[in-house]
C-alpha cells in the first residue's frame, strides 16, 4: 500500500473526520484474526456491543471495523482465584481498568480515506493498525463514508445497531447480482423485500417482476402484528406498477382492482415444465418423461391438448402402445395434468400471450406484480407459472442483450425477478433444469437477476446459492440453514454468532456484493412515515420517456 501523507491536515482546508467516543487502544492482533483493543479504565464492557462499528487510528491509516467479541481480561491470571471484596466500591474502583479490564475484538475491514471528501473511498484493509493505536466508536460521518449517504442517492434501509445513523444501500450495485432474503417465518422477509422493491421502483435502477405467491406486494399486504393492511407497490407508485392476477375472483373479492388477468394456454406448457412439477404433482420419472414422447408425436404447440383429448376419448392404452411407454405411467400423467389444467387460469388455447404482455409493461418502464390469489398455496401452479413466464421473458432479454452487443439497440434495463419459497424450484434436484437456476448461474450476463426469498435456504442448491451476491439474513435457527446462508463468505464464524443473536423481527445481517462489509441492520419501519418519504418521488414525464427508450433500446 502506498499512501502519501503530504498535504494532509489543515493546509487543504477540509475538516478532519469527526471522532466517536474513545474506547481504548490496540494491544495485539493479526490480519487473520483481527485486533484486541484494551478498553480505557472509564469504558465498561457493557457499553460495547458485538456488531458495533469502530474506527482505529493507526500511525498512517484509519481503519474501519466491527466488534466481533467482547471479553474480560486480567493482568494477573490468579485474580479469578483471589477473594476480592466485590461490594467494596473503593477496591473495585482501584482494580477496574487496571488489573481487571475489558477487551474487545475488532476486525478491521476497511482503510478509510484520511480526510473526508477525499476522492478515494474506503478500501479493503490489508493490514492492521499498530500497537497502541487508539480505538473510537465510529461516528455518523464514518458510517456514511463507508455505506454511502441518502444525500448521494443511496437507499435508506435502516439503522446500524445502537446508532441513529441512517444505514444506506447502493441499489445500483444491489441489482447487479442476485439477491437473497432469508429468515424464519415471521422475521420480516416480506416487509424487507417490499421495502427493497419500493426503493428499486423509486430509484429506477431496475425493472422488477414479482411472482407474488401470497398477494402481498401489489395493492396491499397484511400486517400480522398490528393487524390491518400496509400499502403495496401499486398504491405507492400508481402507474409505475402494473398488477397481474391469476385469480380475478380473489382480487375482486378483496376489492382490489388489477390491471391484467393472466391466462395460460395448454400450448405454453412444455415437457420441461412437467419435469419440474414431478415432485409437486407426485409423478414418477417415467411418467414425466412420457411428455417428451408426446411432444414428439403431436408437436410443440398441441401435445398437451391432443394428449388430454386422447385421454378423454379413452384411447390412452393405444397411445401408450404406440409411444412404447408404460400405460400406468401415461395414465398417471393424464390424471395429474388433467387435474392441473382445470385450474381457472388454464385455457386450451390462450389468445393473449401473458409473457408478451408482461414484457410490454416492462418495456414501458413499469414494474409487474403477478398475484397468485388462491393459487398461491398450490405449489405446482406457482412453480409452473413462474417458470413458464420467466423462461419466455428471459429469452427476450437474451435477444435484446445480444443485439445490443452486436451494436443494434441499447442494453435492456436490468430486471430483478422476485420469487418466494425459492427452495421449491432451486433445490439440487431441479436447479439445473429451471430457468431460475440458469439465471442464477449466468450472473447478470443478460441483465436479469433474481431476488429469492426463502425460509429454508439449506434447501437451495449450493451452487445457485453461491451466486446470490447480496444476502439479507433475518433470524434463522436451523443450523443447516445458517451454514447454507454463510457458505462461501469469509469470516463466517464471526458472522454465525452475530446471526444467532439477531432479534426475532425486523433485524437482518446484510452482507455480500452490495455491501463493503457485513452489517446488522434494524430494518426501517414500513409504514406511514415510509410512504411519506417516497411519495411525490414519482418520475417526471421526461424521465419516464427516457426509461422507456432505454428499455430494449426503445
Amino acid at each position: 500500500m502506498t499512501q502519501s501523507h503530504e498535504g494532509n491536515g489543515a493546509g487543504r482546508g477540509r475538516t478532519p473526520p469527526e471522532q466517536g467516543q474513545p474506547l481504548g487502544m490496540v494491544i495485539e492482533g493479526s490480519v487473520a484474526n483481527g485486533v484486541e483493543v484494551r478498553l480505557d479504565p472509564g469504558v465498561s464492557v457493557e457499553q460495547v456491543k458485538v456488531g458495533t462499528f469502530v474506527t482505529l487510528h493507526g500511525a498512517n491509516n484509519r481503519f474501519f471495523g466491527v466488534v466481533t467479541d467482547v471479553s474480560l481480561g486480567s493482568t494477573d491470571p490468579r485474580m479469578k482465584y483471589t477473594p476480592i471484596p466485590a461490594d467494596d466500591p473503593f477496591v473495585i474502583q482501584a482494580l477496574q481498568g487496571t488489573v481487571a479490564f475489558g477487551t474487545v475484538s475488532v476486525l478491521p475491514q476497511l482503510t478509510m480515506p484520511e480526510v473526508l471528501g477525499d476522492d478515494q473511498g474506503p478500501a479493503a484493509a490489508k493490514s492492521i493498525p499498530s500497537h497502541f493505536s487508539r480505538a473510537f466508536t465510529a461516528s455518523q460521518e464514518d458510517v456514511e463514508t463507508v455505506f454511502g449517504s441518502e444525500a448521494d442517492g443511496n437507499f435508506w434501509i435502516g439503522n446500524p445497531l445502537d446508532m441513529e445513523t441512517k444505514l444506506c444501500l447502493d441499489l445500483g450495485e444491489l441489482v447487479k447480482r442476485s439477491i437473497g432474503v432469508f429468515g424464519k417465518s415471521g422475521t420480516g422477509k416480506t416487509f424487507l423485500t417490499r421495502l427493497l422493491l419500493a426503493g428499486i421502483v423509486q430509484s429506477g435502477q431496475a425493472s422488477s417482476l414479482i411472482f407474488d405467491m401470497h398477494s402481498e406486494y401489489g395493492w396491499q399486504g397484511q400486517d400480522a402484528d398490528k393487524g390491518g393492511m400496509v400499502k403495496g407497490l401499486k398504491q405507492l407508485f400508481g402507474a409505475k406498477v402494473s398488477t397481474f392476477t391469476l385469480d380475478e375472483e380473489h382480487s375482486r373479492r378483496r376489492g382490489v382492482s388489477t390491471d391484467e388477468t393472466v391466462h395460460l394456454g395448454f400450448n405454453h406448457i412444455e415437457p420441461e415444465d412437467v419435469e419440474l412439477l414431478r415432485a409437486s404433482l407426485n409423478l414418477s420419472e417415467v411418467a414425466a418423461s412420457a411428455a417428451y414422447n408426446l411432444r414428439e408425436k403431436y408437436g410443440e404447440e398441441s401435445w398437451l391438448k391432443e394428449f388430454l383429448d386422447a385421454g378423454r376419448n379413452g384411447s390412452l392404452l393405444e397411445l401408450a402402445d404406440e409411444l412404447q411407454v408404460n400405460a400406468g405411467a401415461l395414465r398417471a400423467l393424464y390424471n395429474r395434468m388433467g387435474r392441473f389444467t382445470r385450474h381457472g387460469f388454464m385455457v386450451e388455447h390462450s389468445r393473449v400471450d401473458t409473457a408478451a404482455q408482461i414484457i410490454e409493461h416492462l418495456e414501458r418502464g413499469q414494474h409487474v406484480v403477478l398475484e397468485f390469489g388462491r393459487y398461491g398455496d398450490d405449489e405446482a401452479a406457482y412453480i409452473l407459472v413462474s417458470n413458464l413466464l420467466t423462461r419466455r421473458i428471459h429469452r427476450k432479454y437474451v435477444e435484446a442483450k445480444e443485439s445490443a452487443m452486436g451494436g443494434a439497440g441499447k442494453e435492456p434495463r436490468p430486471l430483478v425477478i422476485v420469487i418466494e419459497e425459492a427452495h421449491k424450484f432451486l433445490n439440487s434436484g431441479v436447479a439445473s433444469q429451471t430457468i431460475f437456476g440458469i439465471i442464477a448461474r449466468e450472473l447478470r450476463k443478460y441483465n436479469v437477476t433474481l431476488m429469492v426469498i426463502d425460509q429454508r435456504p439449506s434447501g437451495i442448491d449450493s451452487e445457485v446459492l453461491s451466486q446470490v451476491g447480496t444476502r439479507f439474513c433475518c433470524l434463522l435457527d436451523n443450523e443447516r440453514d445458517i451454514d447454507a446462508v454463510l457458505s462461501g463468505t469469509s469470516g463466517s464464524r464471526a458472522l454465525r454468532s452475530v446471526l444467532s443473536r439477531l432479534e426475532a423481527k425486523q433485524q437482518a445481517l446484510m452482507f455480500g456484493h452490495a455491501l463493503p462489509l457485513p452489517v446488522v441492520v434494524r430494518i426501517r419501519d414500513y409504514g406511514p412515515a415510509f410512504y411519506e418519504s417516497i411519495q411525490g418521488g414519482g418520475d417526471s414525464e421526461a424521465e419516464r420517456k427516457r426509461k422507456v427508450d432505454e428499455l430494449f433500446g426503445g
Binding site: 494477573d76 467494596d88 477496591v91 474502583q93 487496571t98
Partner: protein, 197 residues
C-alpha cells in the same frame, strides 16, 4: 533558618546507604510517624519513615523494668530521671527521590545523604507537592523491607490528608498501586485493605 523549620528538624543522619538512611532523634520518642515523609538537605533527599526504634545507647547495658512499686508510668520516669539519657530513638528512612534545581525526581539520588545531615519532617504543603507524583510507590514496594506493604499503606494514609481532595488522592494512589502490582492481585488487595477509608 526560620522557626517552624527548626521545629520540624527531628534528627540527624547517623548511617546512610544508597537506598535508605538511619536518623537519630533529638528527642526521645521524637520520631515522625511510620509512613511519614521526611527530607534531608543539599540536595533535598526525600524519604518515607519505614521503622522507628527506641533502645539503650549502650547495647551492653539492657534496659531493666523499674516500675514494680510505682503508681503510674509517669512516676517511673520522674523517679528515674537518668533513664532518658541512657535511651535513644532512631528511625529508618527509605529514600523516595530528590529535588534538584527545583525538579522532582522520584528515583534514587546519585549519592545518599551525608551523615550528620539534618532531617526534617515535611509539612502538609511539602507532602502534597512531593506526593503529587506517585512513582515513589514503586521504590517503597521494592524496598526489601519485610513489611514493605505496611510502609506503602502507611505512606498513602499519611499523605492523603495533605491533599485538597483526599478521596481523589486515595483513588489515584490506589490505581497507581494497581498498575504497579498488576501481576499480583493478592498483594494489591492486601494493601488496598490497609488504605481503604
Amino acid at each position: 533558618m526560620t522557626g517552624p523549620l527548626m521545629e520540624r528538624r527531628v534528627g540527624e543522619v547517623v548511617q546512610s546507604t544508597s537506598t535508605s538512611f538511619v536518623a537519630q532523634c533529638y528527642q526521645l520518642e521524637g520520631a515522625p510517624a511510620l509512613g511519614g515523609l521526611v527530607r534531608t538537605d543539599s540536595p533535598d533527599i526525600y524519604g518515607v519513615v519505614g521503622s522507628v526504634t527506641t533502645e539503650p545507647l549502650d547495647s551492653a547495658r539492657p534496659v531493666l523494668a523499674r516500675g514494680e512499686d510505682a503508681g503510674s508510668e509517669e512516676e517511673v520516669i520522674r523517679d528515674n530521671p537518668q533513664l532518658a539519657r541512657l535511651l535513644t530513638s532512631r528511625f529508618e528512612v527509605f529514600i523516595a527521590g530528590y529535588v534538584e534545581d527545583g525538579v522532582t525526581h522520584q528515583y534514587l539520588p546519585p549519592r545518599p545523604p551525608l551523615v550528620h545531615s539534618f532531617v526534617y519532617a515535611c509539612d502538609q504543603e511539602e507532602t502534597a507537592r512531593f506526593t503529587s507524583q506517585l512513582d515513589l510507590l514503586r521504590l517503597l514496594l521494592n524496598s526489601g523491607a519485610s513489611h514493605s506493604d505496611e510502609i506503602v499503606g502507611a505512606c498513602i494514609r499519611q499523605a492523603a490528608p495533605s491533599h485538597d481532595q483526599p478521596a481523589d488522592f486515595l483513588a489515584h494512589a490506589c490505581r497507581a498501586l494497581a498498575v504497579e502490582l498488576s501481576a499480583d492481585v493478592a498483594r494489591l488487595n492486601s494493601i488496598l485493605r490497609r488504605v481503604a477509608p
